[in-house]
């Protein structure tokens, strides 16, 4: 059977009334757990695994696909409205989403996130439908050297996050890199910067760190401004959704975000963190003016990248049997309950199940939009709560969320500690984004670098002799040198213009 016939067959299994309702239920539950602190999609699916004993596999997968998409979108809702990123991949969304909300544009931010997720999810699913086997063949051949080069590219684009002072930006980045070092070194087993505290052996929890730097620091800042008059109330101006201008500014970031998210997400060690940060950096480079004050591109791009990456995760899961996220490992367990072993032979052995799962992804995507667009009106109302109350609510919510994810008081201390750090940095006009990028991507880059060297027995030429790695490094070098060369040309051209 051809791909299309297979897919139609998949739809014929997935499109029953029961399955559509299960899909809607999944999206609703997913959105709820995404919005509520501490219960991510992975835990939710873990909780609902026993339901697989009741439903046929198809029903269960339609529902799980709904939870998957709903959870992701719910996470960006808190990031935009409350400055609380529920997971690492929604950190870039907070950077522009929350300022947008403070300017009364929460509706547009939520809409671009929802529609961007839908667009990215749909494109990614279409691509997976037709190219999954080919993608997995490429993904399989990617080695640590290539992963390292992709990380280099991400760090090169970080210059766009530096703000107006390179020194401040670099200090923030290096502080983040140092934070990323904390814990037991994976390659040698030596504790680094842990000072004998066992809680630090697994590193500083990144979500607690981000919640501290964003939500807690914001609350402290608001409290500190008490004597400078009441902060301006958030006005929800004009229409709730996206204006024509918002559409014009969003569609390119959606596509670019998808272009980052899908390929990187489909790599066996890709994940969603790298593409979301990469997308944010690139969007900021392309439109530097409004960033930091609430640019819609900064929400549209990362949200699309996030959703595309999560769809990409299915490629290694289905074709190689490799789960690359917590949610994916839950799906893997669900497969195994039905005695299905994802791997190279899955498409041949269980075609109906695979194509039904892919069809249910399409359904999940549509359901997400159906459910969430009307909800935006409701969410936006939250912002008319007086600042004092909202601040208190954010603190409560942030504390609950951090405690619920790790169930440890230590993580709350981390969040509050970094809340103070974030407050001081804000006062001294240090940008926070490079810090968080360093803390998230630094450890990933280090481990790939050292693995690549271990496999090449210490020969650093491995980064240049593997063609894909070399190509990515050349692009990175161009990104770094390009603006300098252009500026120099500009400088030469300038006097002539004056004459």
């Amino acid at each position: 059977m051809s791909v299309l016939a297979n897919l139609l067959d998949g739809f014929s299994h997935a499109l029953s009334l029961q399955n559509l309702l299960l899909g809607l239920l999944g999206v609703t539950v997913g959105t709820l757990v995404g919005v509520l602190p501490g219960l991510g999609p992975a835990t939710t699916i873990a909780l609902l695994l026993p339901l697989t004993l009741v439903f046929d596999p198809i029903g269960a997968f339609v529902m799980f696909a709904g939870i998957y998409y709903g959870g992701m979108y719910g996470g960006s809702t808190t990031a935009i409205l409350l400055n609380i990123p529920g997971e690492t991949a929604s950190i870039p969304t907070t950077l522009e989403g929350y300022p947008m909300a403070r300017r009364g544009r929460a509706g547009a931010a939520l809409a671009t996130a929802a529609i961007g997720s839908f667009v990215a999810g749909t494109i990614s699913t279409v691509v997976i439908t037709f190219l999954a086997p080919g993608m997995s063949a490429i993904a399989k051949s990617i080695q640590p050297a290539e992963y390292f080069s992709i990380m280099v590219l991400a760090f090169v684009t970080v210059t766009s996050l530096m703000g107006d002072s390179v020194v401040r930006g670099m200090s923030s980045l290096f502080l983040g890199l140092a934070i990323g070092l904390v814990g037991i070194d994976q390659m040698t087993g030596q504790p680094r910067l842990a000072f004998g505290v066992p809680e630090l052996y697994e590193g500083l929890p990144v979500v607690a760190l981000a919640v501290g730097l964003f939500a807690v620091a914001e609350a402290v800042s608001t409290a500190a401004q008490r004597h400078q008059g009441t902060p301006p109330k958030v006005e929800v101006s004009g229409r709730v959704g996206m204006s024509r201008d918002d559409w014009r500014r969003s569609w390119k970031p959606w596509l670019r975000g998808t272009a980052f998210g899908l390929p990187i997400g489909s790599l066996p060690a890709g994940g969603a963190e790298l593409p979301t940060f990469l997308s944010y950096n690139v969007e900021k480079r392309l439109n530097p003016d409004e960033f930091g004050k609430g640019a819609i591109e900064g929400v549209a791009g990362p949200e699309a990248a996030n959703n595309a990456a999560f769809s990409g995760v299915l490629v290694p899961l289905l074709t190689l049997g490799i789960p690359t996220s917590a949610t994916a490992s839950m799906l893997l367990i669900a497969f195994q309950i039905y005695n299905v072993q994802p791997g190279p032979q899955l498409f041949d052995q269980q075609p109906t199940l695979v194509w039904t799962l892919i069809a249910s992804l399409y359904i999940g995507n549509v359901m997400l939009l159906v459910l969430n667009l009307p909800l935006i009106r409701l969410w936006v109302k939250l912002l008319s709560v007086p600042a004092a109350l909202l601040t208190a609510a954010i603190l409560t919510f942030a504390t609950l969320g951090v405690y619920a994810t790790g169930q440890s008081v230590f993580e709350i201390l981390v969040a509050y500690g970094f809340g103070l750090v974030g407050f001081v940095m804000r006062r001294a006009r240090y940008p926070v984004a490079p810090l968080i990028l360093g803390a998230v991507l630094g450890p990933l880059m280090e481990v790939q670098f050292r693995r690549a060297l271990a496999f090449s027995e210490g020969d650093p030429s491995v980064f240049f002799t593997r063609p894909v790695s070399l190509a990515i490094l050349v692009v990175a070098a161009a990104c770094l040198a390009g603006p300098v060369i252009l500026r120099r040309k500009g400088r030469i051209a300038l006097p002539e213009a004056i004459d």
Binding site: L53, P198, E199, P268, I322, P344, A454, E457
Partner: protein, 327 residues
């Protein structure tokens, strides 16, 4: 996570399940709610085990009392372990663990808790591992691979699991058998099966050690080739000799998953817990859990489990010392 476990238990009860051998609730232990600690995060191996036990206890009618799973992740399970060790003399606190994984975690994380001071309940299951190479590799059998290792210790690049995990110890044991200093092996640790699988499939790694459960799909598809399996029994569907057949049985440490209770239980209390777990493991519910997770039953109650722990503690401390870990 208390709510979580309750919901799981509820969902499981509602959905129902074939009832296995059951004595029903009644005399003595357990007369109040049980707490089962998983010293890892939700969704991980220890968590799956703890929830499997809690599910089987209520679902297959071993007891009427509630079993709650508590997750205390961190530092290779030693954060949970340290907390667990404090509830001395309480037979209603149980903890799931893996012998080699946890003993290794204790050494690596400098944990002061000695596993053998806790009350051993039972070893429950094993998850066999295999030594594999990518399909194009020139090594016909384990002998050929080990010969290459002897010739150029650094040229054979191993992967599989984290530093000091059972896979790493197996590689160290094999190297030592070939007269190679364990410190000279080129072992690239990963956070989990998925990552090491990628390193094997992309051709970056020469060989890997992982659980058969994680390798099975690629073995079946012919992408990987198994050279040997650990333990003393061949594995169905895996075309490879056991380490025992190859005369290398003493080189690997087969981790055994089991249950512990806190220190200070009377012999009678210990027997109560053992007989409850014994009833649990005979249920169809538990058999189902074993099958789903590719675990093999390895019932080793009380004393015998303590012996496994004591013996492995010695082996592991030696091997990890030779690897330069835990310093």
């Amino acid at each position: 996570m208390r709510i979580t476990a309750a919901v799981v238990a509820l969902a499981v009860t509602v959905t129902g399940c074939a009832v296995g051998e059951s004595t029903g609730p009644g005399d003595g232990y357990p007369s109040k709610a049980l707490t089962i600690m998983a010293p890892g995060s939700p969704g991980g191996g220890w968590d799956t085990r703890a929830r499997g036990i809690a599910g089987a206890l209520s679902q297959c009618d071993i007891t009427d009392v509630k079993s709650t799973v508590v997750n205390v992740p961190g530092a290779g399970g030693t954060i949970g372990l340290a907390q667990f060790a404090k509830s001395k003399g309480d037979p209603y606190q149980l903890m799931v663990m893996d012998s080699a994984t946890m003993l290794g975690g204790i050494v690596n994380n400098h944990s002061p808790v000695d596993l053998t001071t806790l009350t051993p309940i039972a070893g429950l299951s094993k998850g066999p591992s295999a030594i594999v190479v990518p399909k194009g590799a020139p090594y016909k059998d384990l002998k050929a691979l080990l010969a290459a290792l002897r010739k150029d210790p650094h040229g054979v690049k191993w992967t599989g699991g984290s530093l000091g995990a059972p896979g790493h110890m197996t590689v160290a044991g094999l190297a030592k058998g070939e007269g190679v200093d364990p410190k000279d092996i080129n072992f690239v640790p990963t956070a989990g099966g998925g990552e090491s699988m990628n390193l094997l499939l992309s051709g970056a790694a020469t060989a890997g050690v992982d659980t058969v459960a994680e390798l099975r799909a690629q073995l079946r598809a012919g992408e990987l080739r198994a050279l040997a399996v650990d333990g003393d029994q061949r594995i169905e569907g895996v075309d490879a000799p056991t380490l025992k057949e190859l005369g290398l049985a003493d080189k690997s440490i087969a981790t055994m998953a089991g249950v512990l209770a806190p220190a200070g239980l009377s012999e009678e209390q210990q027997q109560d817990v053992i007989s409850m777990i014994d009833k649990m493991r005979r249920t169809t519910c538990w058999q189902q859990v074993l099958k789903q997770n590719n675990w093999v039953d390895a019932w080793t109650p009380g004393e015998a489990f303590e012996q496994v722990l004591t013996q492995q503690r010695g082996q592991i401390t030696t091997i990890l010392g030779e690897l330069g870990l835990g310093k």
